[in-house]
């Protein structure tokens, strides 16, 4: 599979060609925030955005989606039967996703697409989507992707990787799916040797600019219960206001709630994002809440990402180092410091 190159002035043209047969999602700036949106014109795309305010996870796991519908009228033979709502099968392209966010999809596959369980909505969306990444020439100060198994030009989870090489856009082909998309779009110009050197020096300088580093090597060797009972949680939890910002901006927080909503004689079964920061997340039908305290909820979030996930899948931490929570937490709870506390944890002698 040969890497290609197009002029930057041809990007809009490429996007319009993609839009002929695909729903195209891309980074869009909206006043004071940014997110991935389905676009209707190429000029909506802003490839200069570093990490968007919201991660692109909603493209695969919508904030809220109707899974089933049902009727309550007893007069029909469909009464009370859950009918699956068809999801739109139109092929989709995510254009300009950062490598860390694409890796997040792979981490979520470990949960939604396993041998034993397959979440049909997740699996279908993954199948119909081609993922076109955009390498990070200038990572943010809060990016620590290189510490958690990704990198500014990492290709895991991508079908194609775009690299901004001044007046040209280099297109690195990662998978057969990506190659097919390029061929379908008629992108043929091959990457020259000179340009290859430009690209590797870009990658080198980007890698060196990442100063933010976290340690993870000891996490899997700690005893979970000892970490769970560590004293530092008390101090970490104080400032937390228990909002859902960290979980909702996070590309790897996947928890959801399923509820039925009924209006007159029709109803839908909805799946919506939920957050372990919310008391309702663990409230039992009996009225008992095993995580009634803020400390317990905050600890759950970090233990899940940096310990339980590590132990269960042996695929590293459930964090891709995008730094969104670091940037957005209203009270500056910095996950990089939690990495440090958890990784360097020593059991206190009794």
């Amino acid at each position: 599979m040969v890497d290609r190159v197009i002029k930057k002035t041809e990007i809009a043209d490429l996007v319009y060609r993609l839009m002929e047969k695909h729903r195209v999602y891309a980074p869009v700036r909206q006043q004071d925030m940014s997110s991935f949106q389905e676009i209707s014109t190429a000029d909506q795309i802003d490839l200069s955005l570093a990490n968007t305010t919201l991660s692109p996870k909603s493209i695969m796991l919508p904030h809220s989606e109707s899974m089933f519908e049902f009727a309550l009228e007893t007069t029909t033979d469909q009464a009370g039967i859950l009918l699956e709502i068809e999801t739109d099968p139109t092929p989709r392209v995510i254009f300009g996703i950062r490598p860390c966010d694409a890796r997040a999809f792979q981490l979520l596959d470990l949960n939604f697409d396993t041998v034993a369980y397959k979440d049909p909505w997740w699996v279908k969306r993954r199948q119909i989507t081609t993922i076109v990444g955009l390498g990070c020439n200038s990572p943010c100060g809060t990016c620590f992707c290189t510490s958690v198994g990704s990198g500014p030009f990492a290709t895991e989870g991508l079908d194609l990787l775009l690299i901004d090489g001044e007046d040209e856009l280099v297109i690195q082909v990662i998978t057969a799916k990506g190659s097919k998309l390029l061929n379908d779009m008629g992108v043929e110009a091959e990457l020259s040797g000179v340009k290859k050197e430009v690209v590797s020096s870009l990658q080198e300088s980007s890698l060196q600019s990442i100063k933010s580093v976290v340690a993870t090597e000891s996490l899997k060797y700690h005893e979970a219960k000892a970490l769970f009972n560590a004293d530092f949680w008390e101090e970490v939890q104080f400032a937390c206001i228990n909002c859902g910002v960290c979980t909702f901006v996070c590309p790897t927080c996947w928890c959801f709630d399923i509820q039925d909503e009924v209006c007159k004689s029709k109803g839908v079964r909805l799946r919506s994002w939920d957050s372990c920061m919310f008391p309702l997340f663990t409230l039992h039908g009996s009225g008992h809440n095993p995580r009634s305290q803020k400390l317990q909820r905050l600890r759950q979030r970090f233990m899940h990402k940096l310990k339980y996930f590590v132990d269960k899948y042996d695929s590293g931490v459930a964090c891709v180092g995008c730094g969104r929570c670091v940037q957005q937490c209203p009270v500056n709870i910095d996950i990089r410091q939690i990495f440090l506390l958890m990784n360097d944890f020593k059991v206190q002698p009794v």
């Binding site: 909206q30 004071d32 925030m33 919201l54 200038s138 400032a239 909002c243 910002v245 909702f248 008391p279």
Partner: protein, 308 residues
């Protein structure tokens, strides 16, 4: 820092509630200090905008707290609403020149990486690799701070500096009047647009020092008052009801708007209620321990024009 050290050393308080320097530029981190040696972590700059009163309700210790004008007004309200006792508190008033809006400053960077900031009385200097920009402080105030008329603590046990002069002739409700002037249809579409980006993370609610209900109505499950999806009707219901719960209790500290990851101007709702309460009852929230919020008290001469 010295004040806090003395208070802890002389055991006049059990804990000090203040700020630590944040891990990224233009951020601060609220901390609770229990030991005198911890006081060297204390920090103060123009990004200590979090309202520390948010951490007070139902605490049992004797607490020293650093309080800007708005923080102190929320403390007054919490005392009136029996969330904390006056005698538990040692309020260290910090006369405030207005806090700076981190997001507003970030828009001046155009993608350049900010390594740090330095402050002088009139300017904010942005430091990065190969650049140093100077911004005029007054242009980057949080919006609520730019129209604040109570920069000094309403109640205090000690002041950290000479009181600052209060801003006069400020038009606090220009944006509210603009919305009032709309017809019903325009106003509805204004609110729909305003609240459309909401992701229901509840940061606005949780950042609010007056939102301390043990169980918020959005978290009730039997009965469940509100849907869990991002249905626009549910989202609007949350925001409108939250605002109404704050009628006569909001000090416009701006913590809600600052916490919102989507930069939604949620203060437009609370400011309308602030204006109504001022017009109907001549009351401003949290200025005195002798005046209860008008909606939790009754007077025979309360205005009644709106119940016709």
């Amino acid at each position: 820092m010295h004040t806090a050290l003395l208070l802890l050393t002389e055991r006049k308080v059990d804990v000090v509630l203040g700020f630590q320097r944040g891990t990224i530029p233009m951020m601060s981190h609220p901390i609770l200090i229990r030991h005198p040696e911890g006081t060297d972590q204390l920090h103060w700059d123009s990004f200590c905008s979090t309202n520390l009163a948010n951490y007070l309700p139902q605490r049992k210790e004797r607490i020293a707290i650093f309080a800007k004008g708005c923080d102190s007004r929320n403390i007054v309200l919490q005392i009136l609403e029996n969330q904390i006792k006056r005698e538990q508190l040692y309020i260290i008033g910090v006369p405030c020149q207005g806090m700076l809006d981190r997001r507003k400053v970030l828009t001046e960077l155009y993608g350049r990486e900010l390594l740090g900031v330095r402050e002088t009385s009139e300017h904010l200097h942005l430091l990065g690799e190969g650049f140093m920009d100077s911004l005029e402080r007054s242009n980057y105030l949080q919006e609520n701070c730019s129209i604040c008329t109570h920069r000094n603590a309403a109640i205090h046990d000690e002041l950290l500096a000479e009181p600052v002069s209060e801003q006069e002739g400020v038009d606090r409700h220009e944006d509210v009047r603009a919305i009032e002037a709309m017809n019903a249809e325009e106003r509805w579409s204004h609110f729909e647009k305003l609240l459309a980006p909401c992701i229901r993370c509840y940061a606005c609610r949780n950042a609010c020092p007056m939102c301390y209900c043990p169980v918020c109505f959005v978290d009730e499950s039997m009965p469940q008052w509100l849907g869990k999806s991002i249905d626009p009707t549910d989202t609007k219901t949350f925001h409108f009801l939250r605002a109404y719960h704050l009628a006569g209790r909001c000090t416009d500290c701006g913590n809600c708007e600052r916490a919102c990851p989507m930069s939604i101007k949620v203060r437009q709702l609370t400011k309308k209620l602030e204006k109504d309460i001022a017009e109907l009852y001549g009351y401003e929230a949290g200025l005195s321990l002798d005046q209860r919020p008008p909606l939790d008290t009754y007077r025979p001469d309360d205005p009644q024009e709106f119940i016709r």
